[in-house]
C-alpha cells in the first residue's frame, strides 16, 4: 500500500496517522514479525522498520541500544528484506536507515529490494536534499516515496527545496536533538507545523511517548505522529512485549482520534 493512499483513507475518516518505529531484528528477526503484528493490532497506520547501521548519529541512546541489539542478533540487509517480504500486513511499511547501507548495497538494488519486498517509503536521516538526487530518481521510477525531514532550524529556502522533493509525508523534527522520548512538547513544534506549507501530509516525530502528547501534536495541525523510542523502550525491557506494544499503540491512536 502506498503512503498517500493511507493518508487519503485517514483523511476521509478525519483521522491522524500513527507512525510507529521499531528496529528490525531487535532483538531477533523473529521477534520483529510478532511486534509488527502487535503494533498493527494496536492501531498503527504506518510502520517504520529500522535497518540497523553501526553508527547511527541521528539516534539517541534508546534507539542506539535497539540497533546494537539488532546487530548483535545478526540482522543484515539481506535478512531484512527477506523478513519484510514475509510480513503479512496491509499497511505501508517504511525503511529507516543510514545512507552508507544504501550506498554499499548499490542505490538501484536497494530501491528494487524495497519495491519487491513491499516497502513503500525510505527515510534516510543523514541524507539531506542536496545529496539525494540519484536516490530520489530511483525511488520515483520504482514508485517508492523518499521521505525528507525538516527541522526547526531549516531555512525558508531549504524548506522550499525539501517540500518540492519530499513525497509520502514530510517528517517534522519536533526539536533539536536526536531521537528519544521526552515528557514535554516544544513550542517550536506548532510553529514548525505552521511553517511547513504543503499538501504532502506532515508527521511529527522525536520525543513523543504518550497519548496526550500525540493529541497535542494533531491538534496543532499535524497529519500524523511518529513514535519510536517509546516502543523500543518496551522491547528493551523485554517483558510482555507484544501486549505492551499494542497497548501503547492504542493509547497513542486514541489520543490522535480525540484530537480531531
Amino acid at each position: 500500500m502506498r503512503i498517500s493512499e493511507k493518508f487519503s483513507e485517514l483523511k476521509k475518516r478525519d483521522e491522524g496517522a500513527l507512525i510507529a518505529y521499531i528496529c528490525a531484528g531487535d532483538p531477533t528477526p523473529e521477534g520483529t514479525k510478532e511486534y509488527v503484528t502487535a503494533l498493527v493490532r494496536g492501531g498503527a497506520d504506518i510502520i517504520e522498520l529500522g535497518l540497523p547501521f553501526s553508527d547511527p548519529v541521528a539516534d539517541g541512546p534508546t534507539i542506539q541500544a535497539g540497533i546494537e541489539r539488532a546487530l548483535n542478533g545478526g540482522m543484515t540487509p539481506d535478512i531484512y528484506f527477506r523478513m519484510v517480504g514475509s510480513l503479512k500486513v496491509h499497511i505501508p511499511l517504511v525503511v529507516m536507515t543510514y545512507y552508507n547501507l544504501i550506498f554499499k548495497r548499490g542505490l538501484e538494488k536497494f530501491v528494487k529490494d524495497c519495491a519487491s519486498s513491499g516497502i513503500s517509503g525510505i527515510i534516510v536521516p543523514d541524507l539531506p536534499a542536496e545529496e539525494s538526487g540519484e536516490l530520489a530518481g530511483l525511488c520515483e521510477k520504482n514508485e517508492i516515496d523518499l521521505i525528507f525531514l525538516v527541522a526547526p532550524t531549516t531555512t525558508e529556502s531549504r524548506m522550499e527545496q525539501i517540500l518540492t522533493r519530499g513525497t509520502g509525508f514530510i517528517y517534522l523534527v519536533a526539536r533539536l536533538g536526536v531521537t528519544g522520548a521526552r515528557s514535554d512538547i516544544a513550542v517550536s513544534t506548532s510553529e514548525l507545523i505552521r511553517r511547513v506549507r504543503t499538501d504532502t501530509p506532515k508527521a511529527v516525530g522525536f520525543g513523543i511517548s504518550n497519548g496526550r502528547q500525540a493529541a497535542e501534536i494533531i491538534s496543532a495541525g499535524a497529519d500524523g505522529v511518529i513514535v519510536g523510542s517509546a516502543f523500543v523502550d518496551i522491547i528493551a525491557k523485554g517483558k510482555d512485549v507484544p501486549n505492551k506494544l499494542e497497548a501503547l499503540a492504542s493509547e497513542l491512536k486514541d489520543g490522535i482520534k480525540i484530537a480531531r
Partner: protein, 395 residues
C-alpha cells in the same frame, strides 16, 4: 547555488551527509569561514596566535644521523615542537578564532587519544569559550593524563559509553550533541574529515605547515624536496603539508597505519589503512574511503597509534589517491615502533607513534629510489604521550 553545492566535493568524495537539523549550521559555517578566510583582521589575529601562542614557525630540521642510517637526505618538519606537542593546535586555533568571530558560546569536539581534545582545551582556555570534549570511555582510561590535561584547562571531558567506546563513537556523540545545540555551539572537528566545509577548512588551517616548508626548504636546499611523507589517520597533518605543494613536482606519500596487517573480519580490521584497504562509503557526513564490511557496517579499526586509529579518512585524500596525485602507503605496528626507536636514538627526538609510521615508510622505501634524494617527513607530534605504550610493547 549550483556552484556552491559543487564545491562541497572533491570529485565524487566529500559532501554533507548529515541530519537536516545541521544543514543550516553548515551553510552558516561555510559562509563565515569563506568570509573570514579572506579577512585581514582575522588572519592577522590567527597569525599572531600561531606565532606567539603556538610557537610557529616550527623548524625544518636536517636529520643527519637518520639520513645516513636510512640512506636518503631527510628533513623533519618539527610539529612536535608546537604548543601541546602536535600539529593539532594549528587547526583548533583557526576554528577557535572562527568560533569567537561567529559569536558562538560553546565548543564541542571529539577526541581519540586526547591530542585534538587537548588542543581544543587550550583554545577554549585562551579564547575563554566553554569547551566540552567527547571521548570514548575506553580512551578516557587509556589516556588518563590527556583527560587530566583537558580538565586542568577547564574543559569538560564526557566519556562515551556507546559502541566500541572509542573515537568513532565519540564522533557520533559529538554530532548528536551538535544536532541538539547547533544554534549556540561550534563543533570543532579535529581532522580533514566529516562534512563540508570541515575537510577544506581544516586543510586550510593546517596548510601553514606546508607553507613554511616551502620557504624553509628553498632556504636550505634551493629547491623543493623530491617527496614529502606524512602519516595519515584522518589526514590533517598530511593535507597540511601536502596542499601547498599540490601543483608542484613533488611526490606525496600518505602513510597509513597497517596495524598487524591488512586483514579484517566482519566486525574489525587489524589496521586503519583506509586509503589502502577501504572502500567507498559514507561516514560521518562525507563520502570517502571507509573500512566497512560487505553490508556497509563500519569496522572497528586498530593501530598502535591511537591518533591513526580511525575507520575513515579525509575525502580529499580519497580523491587525490584516486587521481594518482598522492600515493597511499602503510607501515605496520612493529615497523613504526622500530622507527620510533631509531629517531630517539639517532636524533634525540621522541616522535609520536603516529609520526613514526611516516618514518618507518621512509626506512623501507629509501632503497627503492621511490622517494628521490631529498625527502621531508612530517613529525606531526611528539611521543611523550606514547611512552607507556612503547614501554608496554618492549616488555
Amino acid at each position: 547555488m549550483k556552484q556552491e553545492l559543487k564545491s562541497t566535493k572533491f570529485g565524487k568524495y566529500g559532501g554533507q551527509f548529515v541530519p537536516e537539523v545541521l544543514m543550516p549550521a553548515l551553510e552558516e559555517l561555510t559562509g563565515q569561514y569563506e568570509k573570514y578566510k579572506e579577512d585581514p583582521v582575522f588572519n592577522e589575529e590567527l597569525d599572531y596566535y600561531l606565532r606567539d601562542f603556538a610557537g610557529r614557525p616550527s623548524p625544518l630540521y636536517h636529520a643527519k644521523q637518520l639520513s645516513r642510517e636510512y640512506g636518503v637526505k631527510i628533513y623533519l618538519k618539527r610539529e612536535d615542537l608546537v604548543h601541546g606537542g602536535a600539529h593539532k593546535l594549528n587547526n583548533t586555533l583557526g576554528q577557535g578564532l572562527l568560533t569567537k568571530y561567529m559569536g558562538k558560546k560553546r565548543i564541542i569536539a571529539e577526541t581519540g587519544a586526547g591530542q585534538h581534545g587537548t588542543a581544543c582545551a587550550m583554545v577554549g582556555a585562551v579564547f575563554g569559550i566553554k569547551t566540552e570534549v567527547y571521548m570514548g570511555a575506553k580512551d578516557t582510561v587509556r589516556q588518563r593524563m590527556n583527560v587530566y590535561r583537558m580538565e586542568l584547562m577547564g574543559t569538560k571531558v564526557i566519556p562515551v559509553k556507546s559502541g566500541s567506546q572509542t573515537l568513532k563513537d565519540a564522533i557520533n556523540e559529538a554530532i548528536r550533541d551538535w544536532v541538539a545545540n547547533v544554534e549556540t555551539t561550534h563543533y570543532m572537528i579535529g581532522s580533514v574529515v566529516g562534512m563540508h566545509p570541515y575537510p577544506t577548512m581544516v586543510r586550510d588551517f593546517q596548510s601553514v605547515i606546508g607553507k613554511e616548508v616551502r620557504t624553509q626548504i628553498m632556504e636550505k636546499e634551493g629547491r623543493f624536496p623530491d617527496s614529502i611523507v606524512a602519516c595519515t589517520g584522518g589526514g590533517s597533518n598530511a593535507m597540511g603539508i601536502f596542499h601547498p605543494f599540490i601543483d608542484d613536482d613533488v611526490d606525496l606519500f600518505a602513510v597509513e597505519a597497517g596495524g598487524s596487517g591488512l586483514k579484517a573480519t566482519d566486525k574489525e580490521a587489524l589496521h586503519s589503512a583506509t586509503l589502502c584497504a577501504g572502500e567507498d562509503g559514507v561516514l560521518h557526513g562525507a563520502r570517502t574511503k571507509v573500512l566497512q564490511n560487505k553490508y556497509g557496517q563500519i569496522l572497528e579499526s586498530s593501530s598502535i597509534a591511537a591518533g591513526l586509529d580511525y575507520a575513515g579518512v579525509g575525502p580529499e585524500l580519497a580523491y587525490l589517491a584516486d587521481i594518482g596525485r598522492i600515493k597511499p602507503r602503510y607501515s605496520l605496528d612493529n615497523e613504526a615502533l622500530e622507527a620510533f626507536h631509531d629517531l630517539c636514538r639517532l636524533e634525540g627526538i621522541i616522535p609520536a607513534l603516529e609520526s613514526s609510521h611516516a618514518l618507518a615508510y621512509v626506512k623501507n622505501a629509501a632503497a627503492s629510489g621511490e622517494l628521490g634524494d631529498v625527502v621531508v617527513i612530517n613529525i606531526s607530534g611528539r611521543g611523550d604521550k606514547d611512552l607507556e605504550t612503547v614501554l608496554g610493547m618492549n616488555k
